[in-house]
Amino acid sequence: MMGINRRDFLTALGVAGGGSALAFGPQVGLKVFQTLWGEDWVEVPTGLETRINSICQQCPGGCGITVRLVGDRAVKIDGNPFYPINRGGLCPKGQSGLQSLYDPDRIRGPLKRVGERGAGKWESISWDDAIKTVITKLQEIREKKETHTIAIMAGETRGLMQALLERFLLAFGSPNYIRVSDDLAAGPLDAFYLMQGLKEGLVYDLEQANYILSFGCDLLQSFWSPVQVLRAFGYIRRERGSRARVIQIEPRQSITATKADEWIPINPGTEGALALGIAHLMIREGLHDENFIWNNAFGFEDWIDDSRISHQGFKGLVLKEYSPGIVSSITGVPVDVIIRLAREFATTKPAVAIGLRGDVPSQMAVHALNALVGSIDSPGGVLVARDIPVPELPPIEPDEISQKGAQMPHIAQPAKEKYLLADYLPHTFLERASTGEPYKLEALFLYQTNPIFSSFNPEGVAGALDKIPFIVSFSSFMDESSQQADLILPDHTYLERWQDDPVYNLKGYPIIGLRRPVVSPLYDTRHTGDVIIQLARGLGGSLAQAFPGKDFPETLQYYFQKLFEQGRGDLVGQEFEEAWSKLLARGGWRSPSYQTAEEFWQRLQEKGGWWEPIYYYGEGERVFKTPSQRFEFYSQILKERVGVLAEERLKAIGVQVRGDKLFLPHWEAVKPPESNEEQYPFILNIYQPLVFAGLINASQPFLQGITSPAPLERWDCWIEINPELAKKLGISYGDQVWVESPRGKLSFRAKLVEGAMPEVVNIPLGVGHKALGRWAKNIGKNPLLIVEGHLEPLTGRPLINTTRVKIYRA
């Protein structure tokens, strides 16, 4: 330890030249540096400076990162320049990742609940005891032959970790793996399924598009992989020859709308109608892509089926019902703007229309535009990501009890006739299960998910959790849901663990990143993969045999060994390597930068990932998996699902439309029956700012510090109101305002924004935690508490922006 006097200090600064840059690395030989004023002691890290490549997990985007270490400390995270998702760039969430690693409020070891549930009284226990507790509980369940009553709820996880969790359940005897993902910004996946027959792999080739028409998709803020979009945005604006135009259609002037060439305010929930209006004009003026429609589409013209019944086609419906005048009165968008948009969209090729995962008919309406303009499976349009190779794990042989349990219906599976398009309902199953439908849960495992916070019905979820006798949380942080757990088995943070990260980029390439520990675990935490394997081994029998490795890293190596054996792709590389791989592939060649499996594993760790940078256009059977093997304007999948449902059934699920129109893109007002426009005159529009999209980063103070440019709006939640409206209501900037819906009321600080429509009030989502550490707890409010949570009639997904509210000064 060594004191430094003022003269030394100034000398040091003089040497440093710049002033504030005082190099006191290991070469100076100081162990501890005391600042001049003796207030703070800062230990200087010793050791070599190194960089380790890994994968970010501050959101599901899957960016490659390079972590700078001095000795054993991680001091900075930057983007990995080689990694094809982000090419060296990183968003603010990625930048603040060290605040998750060094969060003082992390859970530091296994905890067992001692007080009442939710009382926050915990006792530290050893890992051995903790695992024994879980094994005992699981054995009990197994002895009762009720293995199907356990469930794992997992957030944004994929790849091997997801495979192991599913495998564990299957070997134990439960079908109940529930993936909860925040897929609001995932794009119109339901339309993608109905019209192209595919459940995943929807990507937009933004880098080659010349005209981007976004129907409410806040591309620059809440897209599932933000950095990819941000990078593409910079590229299409200035880096390539022509500058793409971006048009943002949404009720609020979001960051995307601000940065777009044009913001078109629209009545909330009417985006689908506008898309149909544009389609109407394109068809009427003959601007649609006849070629694509003739070769690749089904249901455009009227048609006659095998049993000689004639059906309406998309063209007929749109020409009849969605003339610009009608659409204008629905959407509030002037007729001349609709005409201009249609002409621009149809003539500025390649053009692409991007939507949200809202109500199904609207999703279809937006997606239909891509077919009209011929932008399906073509450069600058909608691509279908090529499959990510899934390395095989050895087969499992469950015993009789397990087999029987695994064949039980999935706990989140809805009654078939209730939601026609839902395989399972991750958002609402907990409440249903608590009433015994289809059966009650005995044990629940929470992995990277916080259903109490992210649900539309927090009290309901909390109540449902209360009825589950045994809850285990794998969270690294004390979130709302973990507070209700009986046992917490904390996972490492993403900077301390091994993991694979399969993902695809906007060009449709499969990529598998390698997340590796950059520091050794700071606390007594354990990789959830290891815990699962230990549980399986403890339970013995067929479960133990289901896992090929003794721990997670070993399984991961096995997994990559299998990937090597598949003989596909190469290690991630620069753009010229991408072009080279493509060139080789065209000739049927492949020249990977490694020869042996060892070399592959070694270089994988250095580079950060694997990819296969090849996309083939025109693979009809890969792109269209519909019954007609074409793009279906008239969705035969939906027709088959609806089947011969009786009139009252359709009425019960809230579908108004009948006949062929039901299977075609159309628009109907999503109007909750109980809405009272006089009593609740405004529409509540909830949006996700970049820093909190995904709902897991609120505990990081750097992110709380940038939620708004204005200091008074940070560390809080606000409501954006149009100034004219505010004047009418007597509200001024900074006032506390009550926002009341039929479900309840919350107060927010008022922010007067010209970019808000007079009949819409906007509230950001992401803060308002009741737990999650000092920088998140009791900061701001969670607007989901007053959302009515109407469910989409076909998919059963909650619709976020259908709630009507009234506002008044507090």
């Binding site: 710049g18 005082l22 600042t35 001049l36 004023w37 900075k76 933000p226 440019p709 004219e724």
Partner: protein
Amino acid sequence: MVRWGMVIDLDKCTACQACVVACQVENNVPPADPTIDAQYRAIHWLRLLEYREGEYPHVRTRLIPRPCMHCDKPPCVKVCPVGATNIGSEGIVDQIYGRCIGCRYCTTACPYTVKYMNWYRPRWPEEMKKAFNPDVTIRPKGVVEKCTFCSHRLIKARERVRAEARELGPGDYIPACVETCPSNAMYFGDLENPNGTVFQLARSHRAFKLLEDLGTEPKVIYLSEGE
């Protein structure tokens, strides 16, 4: 002579604020808390400015990342009574914390409000001190701090190129904000080098500077949005 400067292309910028956070992490700037923030005393060497023009529905919002302008004629240097703020031979305006007496003349003089007073002792939880960048000092209470164009990186880059026996080339020295920018909207380099990107972009027809008419001659150049 080298003259370091930055170009920010607002047409590419997406207002994501990655630069803001990267700057804080790199330079050991403490995170604020609700109280400090409400007193307008939070420190952001680089922050996002928001300008709204027009009335609904014809609204134009401009979001501008604002680091220190590193003026060639910096008003903050003129008013400093103790020579704590100075402009180096390569144009970087810097702050010597050891000399600063906290009089805040410079915070008042700066038209861009990029100089920040440490009203409080920086508060860090013990755990987070591990993430400190050892190349940058922790500032005590009572001194003014500001953006340095990450000049500690310049020192390290100089050491590195000397060891490799070569000249400082483009890309050897880049501030943290420019390095992280996901949309590649920020450029950094020598404003005097006619072959450099920054030199050429600074002469673009879209180029403008903030409060140019004050005669401060900023070395941060913006490129306007639109065609």
